[in-house]
């Protein structure tokens, strides 16, 4: 692995966080390849081997359906979210496929309210090289946060 490879991976993590905090929801599926996995799962289920996730999508098309839900069908209190993501740790490096992970914390700020710690966890990722640069083949968000503060609407 050369520095420019690690730099590209690090950029992917940072750009993802900035994109999902920007409110431009259509940007989110574009970080994934067509046949992808996205899972938002409680750590409890992950560690105990229970397959249930809070959200589990199996294609970029499903991510687009979620975006439609966020924008058009899910009534919710408006809020900002802000992700803080650690530098990725590389677990396995192949020419066109990387296994990596990172810690994350998401803060939520509702209108007229102070910011709260919203969701805290770990990304477990498979990143692949495509003609359009690095993309996620799989992103699992395994969260510690025991009680979700009412709801999760936007992508983590």
């Amino acid at each position: 692995m050369e520095f420019r490879d690690y730099y590209a991976l690090s950029q992917l993590y940072t750009e993802y966080a900035l994109a999902i905090d920007s409110g431009n929801w259509d940007d989110w599926p574009e970080f994934f390849i067509d046949e992808c996995i996205y899972r938002l799962q409680p750590r409890e289920n992950y560690e105990r081997g229970f397959p249930l996730a809070t959200l589990a999508f199996e294609s970029k098309a499903m991510l687009k359906d979620r975006v439609y839900g966020v924008r058009e069908t899910l009534f919710h209190d408006p809020y900002y979210q802000r992700h803080v993501v650690s530098a990725p740790a590389v677990r396995k490096w192949q020419k066109d496929r990387i296994e990596s992970e990172a810690n994350y914390a998401v803060f939520r700020t509702k209108l007229s309210e102070p910011s709260i710690v919203y969701n805290v966890g770990r990304y477990i990722d498979v990143v692949v090289r495509t003609s359009e640069g690095l993309k996620f083949a799989s992103r699992e968000c395994i969260y510690d946060t025991e009680m979700i503060p009412n709801s999760i609407i936007y992508p983590i």
């Binding site: 439609y68 209190d77 009680m147 009412n150 609407i153």
Partner: protein, 419 residues
């Protein structure tokens, strides 16, 4: 302003003798909340605590709550299930900290008092004192009897793999408690098949616990708030449906059969309906009918006070309501399947679980509306809500254009609370 009604009334007052207008104060008063805990959670009622499949082996336990009291549901050596209160008989410590596990016994770490899986006190360190220089120092009084200091034991009932408990050992049988009409819908899901646990979702909702019961006794909202239900015909005002309520008015079932998907016509001519909505990936609503449904595609059952049994097409779960004071509750979802499910069916149940839970396409907004209702209640408890859709009386209906189930719950609430 007139001097008739203060914003913060001291007494609960009802606008009508029936239960069609509910004072905001039933959601805001801490004294009423304590009375609810006494009368609905700790006396005379059964409370859901879990599924047998969560603790398959002897010694397996799950920590949960009845009302606001911590309890442990544990599998005994003979295969039966005990529910014991998580309060050490010595100094009252909530000793069990793990939420699940397997143990031969329970030990309070503070002074090492140990209890069997039945909650019987087994060992008390230094009970007979400590011998030093031929002299016995300290120890419990001579009349100390371990049998007098067991953990609080709850009465337990299981049916079809579902576990209920009650602090009240004089409570009627679970079957009488649920009543024959609602028991039929309970047995429809829990017909003795072995269950498999798919996992949990946990959310904390800043609203009164009763609002979640009401949400699942309210067939008016799903086709209006939850766009998905309308577009895919999952829950729509023109669907064939029935509302069933038990004789007391406390438990209910909302039964519906999926109608035509797509264009909804006049009955759903509402702003939330999305005419052009299609899925990029139709697998999200890949519905395959199952024999045990016997027709209805959705049956939502509310067992008062603390559990909702969900069958929405292929997604089945229990939803456990856990109050935390008047203005907040924890909501724990246990999704499950059946041991004879094919791999495809399991995948389908998991996929459809995207519709439910704290981020679900048709559930995330239920928590939101509950939160915003509670905000109003707290700021002006003198006001009241209105539940008069379909009239002011209580009873079964063969349609969903009614709030009769909520009225039934408050008719019962008023009777038990004597207000």
């Amino acid at each position: 302003m007139s001097d008739e009604q203060p914003i913060f009334p001291e007494e609960l007052t009802w606008e009508r003798p029936d239960s069609s207008r509910i004072p905001f104060m039933v959601y805001t008063d801490e004294e009423l909340h304590k009375k609810e805990l006494e009368r609905f959670f700790y006396r005379n009622h059964w409370n859901y605590v879990g599924l047998e499949a969560e603790i398959p082996n002897a010694g397996d336990f799950k920590r949960t709550v009845v009302g606001e009291r911590s309890v442990i549901m544990v599998r005994d050596d003979d295969g039966s299930i005990n529910v014991i209160e998580n309060v050490c008989a010595h100094r009252g410590m909530r000793f069990c900290r793990a939420r699940h596990g397997n143990r031969p016994d329970f030990v309070c770490p503070y002074h090492q008092w140990s209890y069997s899986r039945k909650g019987d006190l087994q060992g008390v360190p230094f009970r007979r004192g400590v011998k030093r220089d031929g002299k016995v120092e300290g120890g419990m009084p001579k009349d100390f009897k371990p049998a007098d200091h067991n953990l609080t034991k709850l009465k337990v009932a299981t049916r079809g793999g579902v576990v209920f408990a009650s602090f009240d050992h004089d409570v009627e049988s679970l079957e009488d408690y649920i009543g024959p009409k609602i028991l039929a819908y309970f047995d429809r899901i829990f017909d003795g098949r072995e269950l498999t646990i798919l996992g949990y979702n946990r959310q904390r909702i800043p609203g009164n616990w009763k609002l979640m019961q009401e949400n699942i006794k309210d067939p008016y909202h799903p086709g209006l708030l939850h766009t998905w239900f309308v577009t895919f015909g999952l829950w729509r005002a023109d669907n064939k449906s029935e509302m069933k309520i038990d004789d007391h008015g406390r438990h209910a079932a909302m039964i519906s059969t999926r109608g035509a998907a797509g264009k909804a016509g006049e009955v759903t001519d509402v702003s939330s309906f999305k005419d052009g909505m299609t899925l990029h990936d139709p697998r999200l609503v890949d519905i395959v009918p199952e024999d045990w449904w016997n027709g209805p595609t959705a049956v939502m059952t509310t067992i008062f006070p603390n559990v909702i049994l969900q069958q929405q097409v292929n997604s089945v779960s229990t939803r456990h309501i856990q109050p935390r004071g008047h203005g907040e509750f924890d909501f724990v979802w246990t999704h499950f399947g059946f041991a004879d499910d094919s791999a495809d069916m399991t995948r389908r149940r998991l996929r459809q679980a995207n519709l439910f839970g704290p981020a679900g396409f048709v559930s995330a907004d239920d928590g939101e509306v509950i939160e915003f209702s509670q905000e109003s209640f707290d700021s002006n408890p003198s006001h009241r809500t209105l539940v008069e859709l379909g009239g002011r009386e209580v009873g079964d209906t063969d349609h969903m254009v009614t709030e009769t189930l909520i009225r039934g719950m408050y008719r019962y609430w008023r009777k038990v609370m004597e207000v």
